[in-house]
């Protein structure tokens, strides 16, 4: 008879645990990385009574996390791809914005330069129009230099982002290592909170760095990047990473480069490949304009403002060692613009101005096809294509990641309705078990206090 009280007690305990767990689930419904928990119940081995086997009550065998490993790895793989594509697309998008085409870009400045040539062709002796040509050169130079310097700034910002991402990554790796130890020390019954925190860190590591993981039998997780174990079971300290602009992401202990993934790789791809490619093209455009204009000027004769003294073969008007310092040569003004044909000292001769004007739609002499404007367009549209492609990929990867995240969320997230049902269910069970205990108690009361008092 006393057994019954014990059985009821196990029921009370089990259902209280279940109520607590449900309450904890509800409380953590919006906690990032939280995995819903479930109380695993098992009935106790029965006791052999004279009347047969009687159940011994219920045991809480475990409070388990409802998490599917394969959903995690799918979410992490797509997370790394989305991190890469999004970081690269954002940076390319900014690169394109800084270029300012088509309304506020280099093309407008270049077309204004051509317009200045055409205006001068109508009145080649006019010193104001010659000065205007030099001013147009200066404006084009300023525009190209400004694009170049804002791109440098963007590259610098990307580097800073990279460095801070790696600092954060290194901290996360250390934390994963700490949690590994905590989990291994707990043996077969690790804390669910620690497991959740580690999973959340691994998610973020995947997105920023594209790591893979390997779970060991003792519950520890190795974090692997490009075949290198950054966090390794029973090895301390963890290996950290830093960024080297020429080699990329390097391991701090060997300085060997590793192929990272995720956001870090997206930033690296931009800094080391995408931006240098378009910068080279911008440099080339500066060189082409410089060479075409200087060649045209050298092919004519320039008059002083009064038209008295002449220079055969105009001086170089533009200088550039890269797009960053492209501009008019020092000391150049309108009087240095060669308007007349070489050796023809006629003040109103526009032969050479027409050579300048021809740069608008003809191949620059000596530089081959295509014309300057088309070269510029080639760069602008090339960057536009790269950006459009990167943005489209980022969108695709984002939606794949969203799907994977949703699938995982549907496995381990908290559904409030379920928890309400669970709360009600266990509350009722608790009430029933308590009633059972009362019933047994009353029976015992009858047995103890009311038996053997017949006729008293």
């Amino acid at each position: 008879m006393f057994e019954g009280l014990q059985i009821a007690l196990t029921g009370i305990r089990a259902n209280q645990t279940a109520l607590d767990t449900a309450a904890n689930n509800v409380a953590n419904a919006n906690t990032p990385g939280y995995t819903r928990q479930r109380v695993d119940l098992a009935s106790r081995a029965p006791w052999q009574s004279v009347n047969g086997k009687v159940g011994q009550g219920v045991d809480v065998t475990a409070i388990s996390r409802m998490r599917e490993g394969f959903l995690d790895s799918r979410a992490r793989v797509t997370g790394a791809a989305a991190g890469y594509a999004t970081a690269r697309a954002n940076l390319l998008d900014q690169t394109e914005s800084l270029l300012g085409e088509p309304d506020a870009g280099i093309q407008q400045a270049m077309l204004s330069m051509f317009d200045a040539f055409d205006d001068l062709a109508l009145d080649p002796s006019n010193i104001a129009l010659r000065d205007n040509v030099v001013a147009a050169f200066d404006a084009l130079g300023g525009r190209i230099r400004s694009v170049s310097s804002t791109w440098s700034q963007l590259a610098g910002d990307a580097r800073t982002r990279m460095d801070s991402a790696l600092i954060e990554t290194n901290q996360m790796l250390t934390r994963v290592d700490d949690l590994n130890r905590e989990i291994a020390a707990a043996g077969s019954d690790p804390s669910n909170a620690a497991l959740d925190e580690r999973d959340l860190l691994l998610d973020r590591l995947s997105t920023t760095l594209g790591v893979t993981t390997e779970t060991r039998s003792n519950g520890m997780v190795d974090v692997i990047l490009d075949g290198e174990r950054l966090v390794q079971t029973a090895v301390t300290p963890v290996r950290t990473l830093s960024y080297d602009s020429s080699a990329g992401v390097v391991l701090n202990d060997t300085l060997a480069p590793v192929n990272a993934g995720g956001e870090v790789a997206g930033i690296h791809a931009f800094v080391s490949t995408d931006l240098p490619a378009v910068r080279t093209q911008l440099d080339q455009i500066a060189f082409d304009v410089r060479d075409a204009v200087n060649a045209a000027n050298a092919g004519g004769s320039a008059a002083d403002p009064g038209g008295v003294s002449w220079t055969d073969g105009g001086p170089p008007l533009l200088v550039a060692t890269s797009a960053a310092d492209f501009g008019i040569a020092p000391g150049i003004d309108g009087a240095d613009v060669a308007t007349a044909d070489l050796g023809n000292h006629a003040l109103h001769d526009a032969t050479n101005v027409l050579r300048f004007a021809a740069l608008r739609d003809q191949n620059p002499p000596g530089l081959g096809s295509p014309p300057l404007d088309e070269r510029l367009r080639g760069m602008v549209v090339g960057l536009g294509n790269t950006t459009a492609d990167a943005v489209a990929r980022a969108n695709t990867q984002q939606s794949l990641y969203a799907n994977a995240t949703a699938a995982r969320q549907s496995g381990h997230g908290v559904n409030l309705d379920e928890e309400m049902v669970s709360l009600v269910q266990h509350q009722r069970a608790l009430e029933a078990v308590t009633r059972a205990m009362t019933a047994i108690d009353e029976a015992l009361d009858t047995l103890i206090n009311r038996t053997g008092i017949v006729g008293r």
């Binding site: 004007a357 404007d373 367009r377 549209v381 950006t387 969203a402 409030l416």
Partner: protein, 298 residues
């Protein structure tokens, strides 16, 4: 599929964001009137737009150059027409002078002829926009000299105007072309000297020489008239080119607009649609978010 409250929130927010972005895009298109705003929106179309912009700017310059060309040609035409009418007067005076006249009458004819000569020299040295109209590309006086000794001091430089794609026209006439010619025997090779020679012949009563001089006048008038014909033809050419180039510029800008601009009716409709979609999404989210079993259990 098991739906969790976090999933509902995340997805609702995602959907609202997507709708909001769509609304923003539609409103940007409608308010700017543009379909593509940056190169990556549609690289192929933007490539074409930029090419059309460049071509359009070039056509604008050609239209400008054509106006300038017309002004050059008109000035030359007016000046040469004046010269032509003066030459007709010279011829009249020559015809009068070829008959026997009194000394006083001869003198007055000679005075008028000499005044016409200096008028002609001034016409030959007319300046257009501050530069010698008949002096080629040089800046100096086109025709210098006095009496019967005149020289052309300009050069043979051409003033060229690009008035259309691959259409470059010469808009100047030099004094060499207009006023210098191969004379009949005994006369100088230019209008100014010939007028003086006739004036001298009239003055001295040499009627035979005056008659012979009439032939030189005719040669000179033919010379000027040929230039006037050329100028007229060039003017027609330039005006036609100007019209054609303006048409081309209009075609370019309409093609650019087709690539780049939105159809307003379509843009407004899309804006309305996006607005409705956003409102619908908002109301859907507001209904799906709050309820849970907790509201119904007591």
């Amino acid at each position: 599929m098991r739906i969790t409250s976090q999933a509902i929130v995340t997805r609702s927010v995602e959907r609202l964001n997507a709708r909001y972005a769509g609304l923003e895009r539609a409103s940007r298109d409608a308010s700017t009137g543009r379909r593509i705003h940056r190169v990556s929106d549609d690289p192929a179309a933007m490539n074409r737009v930029m090419a059309l912009t460049a071509a359009g700017r070039m056509r604008d310059q050609e239209v400008k150059a054509a106006s300038d060309a017309v002004s050059w040609l008109n000035s030359a035409d007016t000046t040469l027409q004046t010269a032509m009418s003066r030459m007709q007067r010279v011829r009249q005076l020559g015809v009068t002078g070829a008959s026997t006249l009194g000394a006083e009458q001869r003198l007055s004819l000679a005075v008028e002829l000499r005044s016409i000569q200096s008028e002609l020299v001034n016409l030959a040295n007319t300046r257009h926009n501050g530069r010698p109209m008949f002096g080629g590309t040089s800046d100096g006086t086109a025709v210098t000299g006095s009496g019967t000794a005149f020289t052309y001091d300009g050069d043979s430089g051409q003033v060229l105007r690009r008035v259309g794609p691959d259409d470059v026209v010469k808009v100047n006439v030099t004094a060499q072309d207009a006023f210098f010619f191969t004379p009949p025997p005994g006369f100088s090779d230019n209008v100014f000297a010939v007028v003086e020679e006739i004036a001298a012949a009239v003055d001295s009563g040499d009627t035979a020489r005056v008659s012979a001089g009439l032939e030189a006048i005719d040669t000179a008038m033919t010379q000027i008239s040929r230039q006037l014909t050329t100028i007229g033809a060039q003017t027609n050419h330039v005006e036609a080119a100007q019209l054609r180039t303006s048409d081309l510029a209009a075609a370019l800008s309409s093609e650019r607009s087709e690539l780049q601009d939105v159809d307003i009716a379509d843009a407004i409709l899309r804006l309305r649609t996006e607005e409705t979609a956003y409102e619908t999404a908002l109301s859907a989210v507001s209904r799906s978010l709050p309820p849970s079993l907790a509201s119904f259990l007591r």
